[in-house]
């Protein structure tokens, strides 16, 4: 059978970043995959070298709208590692609260979009409705729905008012029953079991070899979480579980993310209830020459920042490594051998970008259009429908 090249992307309304995939298929089966990124490259590392240490926080915040806490967090920790120094306990707690709030809204966002691609639009709407409540909490705490601007080297920029805390806890509590319902709806659904189990498996060894991070690695049985491995913030202060599953398929990645949201809510509530008193800012003046490394657990995995200072008020070199940079190449292992209708959800399972699905165009070698992006979503949904019928659901 002849091979067919499928270009995917680079544009799609649901994706987080534009990328360009080339799938090579034989009939229905994907035999090879290649990716071209660069549609989002804005030269942030160079820009950061033009700003002062304080201002760079705002530049790195704009690397990713969803990880708009993780990057400043890793960056401030990198700057503090130059000394090295520790920040006050209160600012650690505030940082943890903001970082966990980001994790819960990021996972909800992923869950919603994953539902959308499988033809479960109800999940999409429910998850995004819940997400609004978390964004409200973040707005109360920081003043903005995204891009919180709470971080600065040496502490945090804004304090949490005591009177806001009960409102936030109430809001977090209010979403937990619905989240529980959503969890049961997703995890007990026989169609989703049939649709997602064994699809896009990332084996334990592949997760090690690709240095996969975050939920992507934890779903493959690699217990890897910077919050546990290199404790930072307030994470040692309370009991919480790292969610690890064994199978490495799309279903397990969903399980990891869904169960993690409950742990995250627990951490947030503990921190809000036990917020210690104290200074929130160490008032750093000069950064000594040297180099520092900061790494933290973002929703998608470890975010890594490296800052080199030469004693001036600007970073001399600032290297940013987002988790997707390591998780991305695992496509090579997961997509091969799967069908086209599964490719969209496998690409989505790593939570990098919602994968350009509607801009996917399947072309044969002469360039004749076979499927476009709408068709690929349709293929994915039709497969779910067929399974529903076969299993006698509805």
């Amino acid at each position: 059978m002849g091979k067919t090249i499928i270009p995917i992307g680079p544009y799609h309304p649901l994706q987080e970043e534009p990328e360009f995939f080339t799938l090579t298929v034989e009939g229905e089966t994907v035999v090879d995959i290649d990716v071209r990124i660069g549609y989002n490259h804005r030269g942030i590392e160079k820009l950061s070298e033009m700003k002062t240490f304080e201002n760079s926080t705002f530049v790195v915040e704009r690397i990713c709208g969803i990880c708009s806490t993780s990057h400043p967090y890793a960056y401030t920790r990198a700057v503090e590692d130059i000394f090295p120094m520790e920040v006050s306990m209160r600012s650690k707690y505030i940082r943890t609260i903001i970082a966990e709030g980001e994790r819960i809204h990021s996972h909800l966002l992923w869950l919603g979009l994953a539902g959308h691609f499988l033809g479960y639009n109800t999940v999409y709407m429910w998850a995004w409705k819940l997400r609004e409540e978390i964004l409200d909490v973040m707005e109360i705490l920081s003043g903005n729905r995204n891009n919180y601007a709470m971080f600065k080297p040496g502490g945090v920029r804004r304090d949490i008012n005591a009177e806001d805390i009960p409102i936030c806890i109430k809001k977090i509590d209010s979403i937990l029953p619905t989240l529980n319902m959503l969890k049961k709806a997703v995890l007990d659904d026989p169609v989703l079991h049939a649709r997602l189990k064994g699809v896009g498996v990332l084996s334990y060894q592949d997760a090690i070899d690709f240095s996969a991070l975050g939920p992507t690695s934890r779903a493959s049985g690699v217990a890897r979480d910077v919050r546990k491995d290199s404790p930072y913030g307030a994470y040692q202060e309370m009991e919480w579980d790292m969610i690890v599953t064994k199978n490495g398929d799309v279903f397990d990645k969903a399980v990891v993310r869904i169960l993690e949201m409950f742990e995250t809510a627990k951490i947030m509530k503990y921190c809000l209830n036990n917020l210690p008193d104290g200074e929130i800012d160490a008032k750093i003046k000069d950064i000594p020459p040297g180099e520092g490394i900061g790494h933290i657990e973002a929703p998608r995995g470890e975010t890594f920042h490296y800052v080199k200072s030469d004693g001036t008020n600007r970073p001399m070199r600032h290297k940013v490594r987002a988790p997707t940079f390591m998780n991305f190449p695992t496509y090579k292992a997961t997509v091969k051998g799967q069908t086209i209708s599964d490719a969209t959800i496998i690409l989505a399972a790593i939570d990098p970008c919602y994968c350009c699905t509607e801009r996917i165009a399947v072309k044969d070698v002469k360039g004749r259009m076979l499927y476009d992006g709408q068709d690929l979503i349709r293929l994915s949904r039709e497969k779910t429908e067929k399974m529903k019928q076969r299993m006698g659901v509805r």
């Binding site: 240095s211 490296y306 290297k319």
Partner: protein, 157 residues
Amino acid sequence: MIREEILLDFTSRFHADILDLEDKSNTRVYVEITPESLVRIGTYLFRNIGARFNIATATDLPPKIEILYHFLVEDINLLISLRVFLDGEKPEIESLAKEIEAFNWIEREMSELLGITFIGHPDPRRLLLADNWPEGVCPLRQDYEEWDETVDRTRGV
């Protein structure tokens, strides 16, 4: 294994290749090694000690180029950074990507942003920069200058 054992094992095994060892803090160790030994030491850290490869960071420090390979030993929370210095005029180093998949993308990124040649890289294509970006212009080099005549820097905050 505890931290001291790993470091002792590591230094005794590669003592001929280690030029300098900076024990910065409890969780950070910077090791300067010879460029020739990188593949051996990197593979040993990754495969035998079981360290996770974080990332590599290259910096242009004229007349040299420095590359740091960061490895995290997760069990004991130790970040080992291997430091190599390359010649700034003609930076070349053996590729680790042919041994370990995780190095693939970062080596592609470094080769286009800083113009480092990775010998034996399995897939040395462009990763981040646009297709019409001129060959040999490396934006993260210190001597980078605007090459495009059509740019407009007049507006913005």
